[in-house]
Assembly symmetry: C2
Homo-oligomer: 337 residues x 2
């Protein structure tokens, strides 16, 4: 009957009304006579009309999508090996879907991809950006802000910036770990930190050390890891070589804790009897590995959802000032400590 996909125009013709009226019915703006509404709906039904997204967003300046940018994860196809990013994604998706907003997933790991991200947002391909970045030196927050893109960060920015973010009280997490070691009477504890250009890593370590110092232990042997299981294993080797008497290890994430446990076991140590291990994050492998990991829980999904919520709020009210939401970590007791 009609060529191509039906447009508003077509529906209007079939219903015998103007384009404006159909638009009003579709969008529920203003009052339209109920009977007329009926006619229009009928025409929509008959023509199989669906509003064209591009045309609509051309005039509304809204796309109904946001960019979920994962930066500094090493890129490549193994981003999701770290369950952290999967959890963030799940949390974001799960929240956005309740609001009819769709996330487009972007990896920003190189200068080129970073530029593409900025370009993407400047084009108005998405209404705002959710930026998950670990490295303190990340340039995207700044560039996005400069481009006038509404953005919310996961983790506070490296330098002070007027931008909203959600974060965890990582220092409190470190303190929680220290408290656990104190509780089970460990006196020769060491730490496997995350990359030190990641603020969260610094904070976890700082909190951990400060709490230990307060308990009378001024020195904490520390090796820097890279948030991977392998790096945790390597770090544990070093620690064991330099400080064979160690009886407690705080690893800055679960993956590294897992690597450490493996090395410990292989070295004939019992976990937690000889060496207690506390991880961080409480990701799926923490519960699954043997011995299961005592860890500091970071409510990633909730934080991610909050991040999305803050962005949507900002989108609705551009005048709103930047907000920060800080979550509290929690000790999860399992077998390893």
């Amino acid at each position: 009957m009609l060529k191509g996909t039906p447009t508003l125009e077509d529906v209007a013709r079939v219903a015998g009304v103007s384009r404006a009226t159909v638009s009003r019915v579709v969008n529920g703006t203003r009052n339209v006579d109920p009977q007329l509404q009926e006619t229009v709906r009928d025409a929509i039904e008959r023509t199989g009309y669906t509003p064209n997204h591009a045309a609509r967003s051309l005039v509304t300046r809204r796309t109904g999508t946001v960019a979920l940018i994962i930066s500094g994860a090493g890129g490549g196809s193994d981003v999701f090996v770290d369950p952290f990013f999967g959890r963030v994604t799940a949390g974001v998706v799960d929240f956005l879907r309740t609001r009819g907003v769709h996330p487009v997933l972007m990896l920003a790991d190189t200068d080129r991809t970073r530029a593409e991200v900025v370009e993407f947002l400047r084009q108005g391909s998405a209404d705002g950006a959710l930026l998950v970045t670990t490295h303190a030196a990340e340039s995207l927050p700044d560039r996005l802000l400069e481009a006038g893109v509404p953005v919310v960060l996961y983790a506070r920015p490296g330098q002070p910036l007027p931008v909203s973010y959600v974060d965890l009280d990582h220092q409190a997490g470190g303190r929680l770990a220290a408290a656990r070691f104190a509780e089970i009477g460990r006196t020769r504890v060491a730490a496997i930190s995350g990359p030190l250009d990641v603020l969260a890593s610094q904070d976890r370590l700082t909190g951990f050390r400060a709490a230990l110092a307060r308990n009378g232990f001024p020195y904490v042997p520390t090796v820097e890891g890279g948030f991977t299981a392998t790096s945790g294993a390597v770090a544990m080797h070093r620690l064991l070589a330099d400080h064979p008497e160690v009886d407690g290890v705080f690893a800055a994430n679960d993956l590294m804790a897992q690597g450490a446990v493996d090395v410990l076991l292989a070295a004939g140590k019992r976990v937690p009897e000889d060496v207690a291990v506390v991880g961080f994050d409480d990701s799926a492998p923490a519960a699954a590995c043997r011995p299961s990991l005592t860890t500091i829980r970071q409510p990633v999904e909730q934080m991610a959802a909050k991040m999305a919520e803050v962005l949507l709020t900002a989108l609705d009210d551009p005048e709103e000032r930047p907000r920060s939401v800080i979550f509290e970590p929690e000790l999860v007791l399992r077998a390893s400590a």
Copy 2:
């Protein structure tokens, strides 16, 4: 100098040329005098122009995005607990980025969300769809096809449909597992299958059983699991209760294998000495857990990338016929069998 974001019009005015010429320079279509190009580029630079995506796609009928639909994963925020979906996502993202295409992530777990997905595509919010679905009864392929949306599936459809897909030869995977048990002399093997409404589960089991039958073992005790670690543990309990003499277990994915191993260990069995365990997928936990899992590798990332590639090809040439690409599984030898 100019109000709001600069448009083509603005650039044209600054450069002293027509809108068409600027458009040609931006898009690199047709020949434009090099000197004029220079002028135009300069004007673009000076105005800080960025093409408006909505306007462009209104006329080109292309958005430069595709929908990545994950269906039947139980939905909710724990989709990515199963590393499988993370791997698919990573593979897709990793490929698409090389082609400047962006994926929009969608979860389709209810009738409502399924309808939203169809609506989304019909609106032209994305150029095509990548559908990752496990359940054979999934209605989306059909509905998407009917809506004229270019779509590629991960895993063959439940009923014959003129649609492209990538898949694994799951039966061959089952055979590989059976061969391994034969190789290490296991004669009382059992299986923990995936949900039987998933074709891949059926196929893995069929291949496994057929190969065993060929070796002279007609009966394989089987319990159906749900692809989660817990379901694997539950199944293993059942198996152990009914068939305490079992000396080999084939689990249809690594998560279930992990759960099975835990139960086996807890029951005082040694793995692999008393009971050998073979998993499926070769996901990250397979290598990480203790004992590490001998498993059947499914090259998920590559398959996902291929799926994306097939879709982009179809997008470029709508006349092309549906294609199927079948990947071969591979035995990965580790500690558990």
